[in-house]
């Protein structure tokens, strides 16, 4: 039977086994070598030099959530890439932004997108937002061995919760621990500065327009103080990637839209380099 299965070109048994709706489960049975977590690295001295993505920020507003990222990837103190994209749609109602080792992060996102799409196609319904967030947790945890070698991937997951009808943000740590954030969150090397900026600018009745401006302000402040985060690059027309998720689904701001906001911010910073001031009391 086994020989027959191989010689005829029919779908192998693993393809037709009912049960799991998870693509990762299927992969672990059929071709485990393709799963990112199944690779083992030889023990190394020191860190591996690979491009790292930097700052990701997220903000909720009534009606949705905004997720944005800068465009820089660094390798040591060199800029590896100026126009890297670190914010991706995960499915129609969610997005994921990734800081950490760029190569592994992009692979993780690709598998995560596929995992959600696969479930949706097999089951005919989407996973709940919590379910999606948990799947991402599992994927980060499977990367723990790599993280110990300095190849960590730390994402932020944001989405529109169709059942609760609000935007939600989940942040992660390197071990796959997941926590829901209220209001705003940031990850990556510039996250401390971005968080400081957001803390002062955030209030819970932002409009979508204000929320997109807020995230670019926060990324500007991160770039201001963190060498690994890239600010708006006017000469090369490289601006942060800003995505908005509402009940209408995922939308990425066009280059024109994000450049307009970034230019307005730059204009103001010419007279006020530290950005908008918050009230003292």
């Amino acid at each position: 039977m086994e020989a027959n299965t191989r010689s005829t070109g029919r779908l192998p048994a693993a393809f037709l086994t009912p049960g799991s709706s998870s693509f990762m489960d299927f992969l672990s049975h059929h071709s485990p070598d393709l799963l990112p977590g199944n690779r083992s690295l030889p023990p190394l001295q020191g860190a591996i030099e690979a491009p790292h993505g930097t700052t990701i920020v997220a903000v909720t507003f009534p009606g949705g959530v905004v997720l944005a990222g800068d465009r820089r990837a660094t390798m040591g103190n060199m800029i590896a890439q100026r126009d890297i994209e670190k914010v991706f749609p995960a499915d129609e109602y969610s997005a994921v932004g990734i800081a950490g080792t760029a190569g592994l992060a992009v692979e993780m996102v690709k598998l995560f997108q596929l995992e959600l799409e696969h479930f949706e196609k097999v089951e005919g319904v989407q996973l709940s937002l919590e379910g999606k967030a948990n799947r991402l947790s599992t994927m980060i945890r499977s990367n723990l061995a790599m993280a110990m070698q300095g190849l960590a991937v730390v994402p932020i997951f944001a989405g529109w919760d169709v059942d609760r009808e609000r935007g939600r943000i989940f942040s992660y740590d390197v071990t796959g621990g997941r926590s829901e954030e209220t209001g705003f969150a940031s990850t990556g090397s510039g996250s401390i500065f971005a968080r400081g900026a957001m803390k002062k600018l955030y209030h819970d009745d932002l409009t979508e327009q204000q929320a997109t401006t807020l995230v670019i302000q926060a990324l500007y402040d991160a770039a201001d103080d963190d060498s690994a985060t890239g600010g708006p690059d006017v000469a090369r027309r490289i601006y942060p990637i800003v995505t908005v998720i509402t009940d209408e689904g995922f939308r990425r701001l066009t280059d024109d839209e994000s450049s307009e906001i970034a230019r307005a911010i730059l204009e103001r910073r010419l007279t006020q380099p530290d950005g908008p001031r918050a009230a003292l009391l």
Binding site: M1, T8, R10, L16, F23, F26, L111, L114, E117, G124
Partner: protein, 277 residues
Amino acid sequence: MSTPFYVSPQQAMADRAEYARKGIARGRSLVVLQYADGIVFVGENPSRALHKFSEIYDRIGFAAAGKYNEYENLRIGGVRYADLRGYTYDRDDVTARGLANVYAQTLGTIFSSSGEKPYEVELVVAEVGDTVDGDQIYRLPHDGSIVDEHGSVAVGGSSEQISTYLDQRHRDGMSLAEALKLAVQALSRDTNGGEREIPAERLEVAVLDRTRPQQRKFKRIVGRQLSRLLEADGAASTPTDAPSDTEEPDGGAATATDDTPGETGKPDADASGDSKE
């Protein structure tokens, strides 16, 4: 008892084919038609949850008639095949031709292996292209053969009768509303020539729409959108159907060519007629 009867291979195969065909004929028919902006799947299905049509990949849709557990199994196998292929190579490298081949191999092996009972299913795998010329529709009967179809295809119970009806009336460049109307007409014809009404709630309709901005072109048409499209047929050529407003001149031509099928209709009828056993 102890010595089995000799059964000639021809007879054994004929029996198996008969068995599978009977199983398929018990299910309701469904049709797959090309229209100007893509491919539409129409079938009668009282269930809202158990689908006959589903998405396999970005541009690929799947339709099946016959035994539910068997085609559901093949459907999931197809989704896994497509997702694995897209993950290993690229999304563009997943094609309906490749998938149809794998299905044909699977069905053929099961059909000719004496240890297994033949699958009582007939599948359609369709891929929408960037233009009408890029559209591909494959019909996969129970025995592992594969038929490259154009224009329209019917599978299930009274498929021969329905596809003859469709071949005579289907034209290239129909609007979605027109194609849907034709499909419902074809499905509502009884085996004995009578007509019966199929209410909109019992219709399952899905499209592969090449004009959809998203990467995934498969979309179910349900509820208000479906009844709007069905009503648009009734009013013949009212511009209520947004995606087909450019097709209005064709709408007028449709009635004219109804009795005299165009050049494209005839050869298709012959081709699909030949391929049927």
